[in-house]
């Protein structure tokens, strides 16, 4: 399929909205999955699922072999390694550390205007921030969570044939992608793909990056150009 064809066949936002609850629900699942991965270290249930043929098989289509990434004799050891890698990549460690907050990306500080705007976005969409979540609202995992919830809402309304409300939640997603996620998510994810210390997180970065780029295309939005950087 040529790229010009791709552009020609790309559904309009209305067409997309009309494509039924399934698409929105699946998108919600992808967001929820990514949210979970970015927000916390792996746990044993999720690890088992990702190692299973059923789930891992689907990721193989993307050139991602989670069974290989997550192979090992001892599940606890794998979990331990992943916990170290999570900390290394998103929390602290030797250079570079990837701060998973939009505010840091935009201003170099935690809990800046972006955090407030994301919180307000939650409210605007009649949603509440995750209770007892120690993370700021502009953590990539929380931003993914918001998208997941919005997509779920859209799916619910579509299922109930409440098109106007579904469309409304679709627009919320478009606005959030435009004002927040696409401004930094793809670039952040690309960094993870390139620099994360564990292949699992490198692949998560790849997935996240490709998914967001696709979302940009589907919602007819531009994602920020990827900024190349040199090793120094």
């Amino acid at each position: 399929m040529s790229s010009s064809k791709q552009v020609n066949v790309r559904p309009t936002s209305t067409e997309m909205a009309e494509s039924g609850p399934c698409e929105a629900e699946n998108r919600a699942n992808v967001y929820e999955f990514l949210s979970r991965i970015f927000l916390e270290e792996m746990d044993s249930g999720l690890l088992q699922a990702l190692q299973s043929d059923e789930v891992a098989g689907i990721f193989l289509d993307w050139g991602i072999n989670f069974q290989e990434d997550l192979a090992g004799e001892n599940q606890n050891e794998i979990l331990e390694q992943l916990a170290h890698a999570y900390c290394d990549t998103f929390v602290t460690g030797e250079d570079p550390v990837f701060s998973p907050y939009e505010s840091v990306w935009k201003t170099g500080c935690l809990e800046g205007k972006s955090t407030l705007l994301v919180e307000e976005f939650y409210t605007k969409c009649s949603l509440g921030l995750p209770k007892n979540c120690p993370e700021f609202a502009d953590h990539l995992g929380i931003e993914f969570d918001l998208m997941s919830r919005l997509a779920k809402k859209e799916a619910e309304f579509r299922l109930a044939a409440q098109t106007a409300q579904a469309e409304n939640y679709h627009k919320f997603q478009q606005a959030f992608l435009k004002n927040h996620l696409l401004a930094w998510g793809p670039e952040f994810s690309a960094k993870i793909e390139r620099w994360a210390s564990h292949p699992f997180y490198q692949h998560i970065g790849k997935l996240s990056c490709e998914f967001l780029r696709m979302e940009a295309e589907e919602f007819e939005l531009e994602s920020e150009p990827y900024m190349e950087f040199s090793e120094n």
Partner: protein
């Protein structure tokens, strides 16, 4: 693309499947807890009303008052508290940026456990319960072997007694502060001379200020409150300001005269001026007679050796200048000196501090309007009882070689641990970054990385600083804007107490040190059998601090803790009161009840084994806070340990032997930084991030060095490669380098310039983050005060050698060890059984504490603290 998208959407089902394997997944649990809210309509981030919450600043240690403007739980901006008697509504640049500590992107927000070799940067997030259980277990183990093997090393500790409560409860006296790398020589000199360890000059009403090496306009104690008053004095009172300093600071720049002198010679200049004043008959001989322990004749005779010509030879300041300024100072009207670290943190720093104090003594400018005055803090209590008994002191805290060093000798600790002087099993680090802020950082690295010397180490820290990165476990602390503390500083003639209160909730999983220690104590002693828990039964941090503050006499009646929560400080600034303040505390007549039961020893009134007053011409007055109640021009305790008791100048041995091509290395705090704590504040880092070495034009020319050239600076323990800043603003024999640059840990904002993370690169325009000099500065020590000789290092400076790269720093461990041994060899050879329980020391320390409870208007008990004001900047 469609195909790709469709495939991707298939992922949705896979992702859904993965997530539904168990609802026990953390995020699943969180997602199910999502709360539906009512639509509230859009809200503007700027249109909301801000809460205004008073707090006490701790970006540096001046403890000024501020107001935080908080919106939706976030600090929008900080401003000065207009009610605060110290800073009178103004914050300095550092203070304005203080909230960036909170929002530092490299903050640690979860307990971290090391999972790779020390310093490898490999960590794992763990829960607080796991972290505290682990630390408690290690402490229990160490207590069972020897409680003294539990060590606590702190820096900017403003908990006012909590660290000691904890360590005393564990039965360990192995506690060290960082005062020996700050200004302890000044403290020791002042304590023996007049009692308190600091002065509060009346700059606003003075006519003449002689500033020896302090940079009040930028960094020295209490720079924000004092520079305001100094400018009042200059503008409204036409006061003259003369600054002696090898470097042209911003204080030098606003001075009427800047006189560069050779480092470590301030004392001889001061003594020569005293000599001139006495010789010219300009001295206040009545003050000397009444309030000192020498006669004017004795003093005149003693000071004759310090001629202006001798001082010129030593310092490079012309004899004529010395004479002229001496006469100006003595005849100007009220006058005062000022010093802080610049003149005192040399190997002869105690003598120097005493010498500069003498200028105020000979001119009778002590305790008077416009003069050099006693500090007036208000103080507060020691917190809720019961209080644990004090365990013995550790040899690391009070090495026997330094019997008069009452503020610890922290810069010897690394070498002492290395040689096994005290076995350490658990090492705790709080608000201190020794690898960066101490001299000879490499020796600190050696012990921090050695599991033999430090089997287990804990860091209570807000970020991954150069030392914390070597810890085994990190307990994330809160910033000063997220915690409770009582405060009181003598930054104004009007004493005050202030409150530091959380203006927002702690970010992430960070926990205030007060709470961490409380919880740790419960974990160490869950059933109370170890005798620790009973000292930690007071409930919340807030109630602890409330208890401390409400011990301040008068506060309860004025509105108590509630008033402090609302206004941040008590009493409020009152210009009229400050302008009309009555000095002369030493002349205050003792009351009948004060006199009841006193006996006279010489001129000193004694009661219950302690001095309480001084007889002056038949009148019983309070005098000064010394064992004799006089201003001790002659300090007998010094003589006991083989030091010169009278005002004295002693040239530094290494300086006497300097070759013609050798120079002296000096360091300084730039105006927008403290030491290692502020490089993480983005605004400040943007303002000041690189630290080229200041070198005089002629000195540079002689070495073929041009501006911004790469140079190599070689000290007795190593070398560093940095850039030159060629300037007229520095003494030709001195090279000066700013601290607060050149953090080694890449995960700090202070090192952002070297990062490859584009988040960082796009938010910073600079790539030069400087080179830190401390690693090439050897340990050297004032044998009386135990303070570090920061500005005494003899160096050579050349153009960089081939292969040298900017930032290269090397140090030689053998040479560093030799330097430490050399410092020790200059210590007193006199030993008492327990040097730190000698009459001299006990009296002086106790007297200081009594003074805070007496002369300065409060009876609050301060004996639980090590330092009454903890005025270590």
């Amino acid at each position: 693309m469609q195909l790709k998208r469709r495939k991707f959407i298939q992922l949705g089902s896979a992702a859904g499947a993965a997530l539904t394997v168990g609802s026990q997944f953390g995020m699943k649990a969180k997602a199910s807890a999502l709360m539906e809210l009512k639509q509230t309509g859009s809200a503007s981030p700027t249109g909301k009303k801000n809460q205004e919450i008073p707090y006490t600043c701790l970006t540096c240690n001046i403890e000024d008052g501020g107001i935080a403007y908080v919106e939706d739980g976030r600090i929008r901006r900080l401003e000065g508290n207009p009610n605060h008697p110290g800073n009178r509504g103004k914050l300095c640049a550092k203070g304005n940026a203080g909230h960036l500590h909170v929002y530092d992107p490299t903050r640690i927000l979860n307990p971290l456990k090391r999972v790779g070799p020390r310093g490898s940067g490999k960590w794992k997030r763990i829960t607080w319960d796991e972290a505290l259980s682990e630390v408690a277990g290690k402490i229990q183990g160490a207590m069972d072997i020897d409680p003294m093997s539990v060590m606590f090393q702190y820096g900017r500790n403003r908990t006012h007694g909590l660290v000691y409560r904890f360590m005393n409860a564990l039965g360990s006296g192995t506690v060290n502060n960082h005062t020996s790398i700050c200004e302890c020589n000044k403290k020791v000199a002042m304590e023996h001379a007049w009692g308190p360890d600091i002065e509060t000059p009346d700059f606003a009403h003075t006519k003449y200020i002689l500033n020896f090496g302090s940079n009040l306009a930028e960094a020295a104690y209490f720079h924000n409150p004092y520079i305001q008053r100094l400018m009042d004095g200059k503008i409204e009172n036409k006061a003259k300001l003369v600054t002696f300093d090898p470097r042209m600071t911003n204080t030098g720049a606003i001075s009427d005269e800047w006189i560069p002198l050779k480092p470590a010679t301030d004392g001889v200049v001061a003594l020569a001026m005293c000599n001139v004043i006495l010789q010219e008959g300009l001295a206040d001989t009545e003050f000397i007679r009444k309030y000192t322990n020498v006669t004017a004749h004795q003093l005149t005779e003693h000071l004759k050796q310090y001629t202006p010509e001798f001082a010129e030879k030593e310092s490079g300041v012309s004899a004529d200048t010395i004479r002229r300024i001496a006469i100006e100072f003595a005849t100007a009207g009220p006058a005062t000196t000022y010093t802080y670290r610049g003149s005192s943190m040399h190997q002869n720093g105690v003598y120097t501090e005493k010498a500069t104090m003498m200028l105020n003594v000979v001119t009778g400018n002590i305790e008077k309007r416009g003069g050099f005055n006693l500090p007036r803090g208000l103080g507060f209590g020691g917190g809720p009882g019961p209080h644990p008994p004090k365990p013995p002191h550790s040899i690391l805290k009070y090495p026997p070689e330094y019997p008069l060093a009452s503020h610890h000798v922290s810069h010897h600790v690394s070498h002492s641990i290395l040689e096994g002087r005290q076995k350490i099993n658990v090492f705790m680090l709080y608000c201190h970054n020794p690898l960066y802020t101490q001299p000879d950082g490499d020796t600190w690295k050696q012990i921090l990385t050695s599991e033999k010397h430090i089997p287990y180490s804990v860091s209570f820290s807000i970020n991954m600083d150069d030392s914390t990165k070597y810890a085994d476990i990190i307990l994330p602390d809160t910033t000063f804007l997220e915690r409770w503390d009582p405060e009181s500083m003598p930054s104004s003639a009007l004493g005050w107490v202030g409150l530091r209160q959380p203006v927002i909730k702690p970010l992430g999983n960070a926990k205030a040190f007060r709470d961490t220690i409380y919880e740790l104590a419960q974990k160490i002693d869950p059933d109370g059998k170890r005798g620790v828990k009973k000292y930690f039964s007071y409930g919340s941090a807030e109630s602890y601090v409330k208890n401390q503050l409400e011990a301040t006499p008068g506060l309860k009646a004025a509105g108590g803790f509630k008033l402090l929560k609302k206004y941040g400080v008590w009493p409020f600034y009152d210009k009229k009161k400050e302008d009309n303040f009555k000095f002369g505390a030493h002349e205050e007549t003792l009351s009948e009840s004060d006199l009841a039961g006193t006996t006279l020893e010489g001129r000193t009134l004694m009661k219950g084994g302690k001095s309480v007053g001084l007889m002056v011409d038949g009148k019983a007055v309070r005098g000064f806070g010394t064992p004799s109640r006089t201003f001790q021009v002659n300090v007998p305790e010094w003589e006991h340990y083989g030091f010169e008791p009278m005002p004295h100048y002693e040239a530094i041995e290494d300086h006497k032997r300097m070759k013609s091509d050798e120079l002296l290395l000096s360091t300084y705090k730039p105006n927008v930084h403290t030491q290692s704590r502020t490089p993480n504040l983005k605004w400040l880092q943007e303002l000041h991030h690189r630290n080229p070495a200041w070198i005089n034009t002629e000195t540079a020319k002689a070495r073929g060095i041009g501006n911004d050239d790469l140079i190599r600076i070689t000290s007795p323990i190593g070398y560093m490669v940095t850039k030159a800043r060629v300037t007229e603003g520095i003494h030709p024999q001195v090279v000066a380098i700013a601290t607060s640059s050149g953090m080694s840990n890449k995960s700090t904002l202070g090192n952002y310039g070297g990062s490859k993370d584009p988040d960082i690169v796009q938010n910073t325009w600079w790539d030069d983050t400087g080179v830190h000099p401390n690693q090439i500065i050897p340990v050297s020590t004032d044998p009386i005060g135990g303070g570090m000789g920061w500005f005494d290092t003899v160096i050579t400076v050349t153009k960089a050698k081939s292969g040298d790269k900017y930032g290269d720093t090397r140090s030689d461990r053998g040479a560093a060890r030799k330097a430490f041994e050399k410092a020790l060899s200059k210590a007193t050879k006199v030993r008492t059984e327990d040097a730190h329980n000698t009459t001299a020391k006990t009296n002086v320390r106790d007297e200081i504490h009594t003074e805070v409870g007496g002369v300065f208007g409060t009876t609050a008990k301060l004996r639980d603290f090590e330092d009454p004001f903890n005025t270590t900047a």
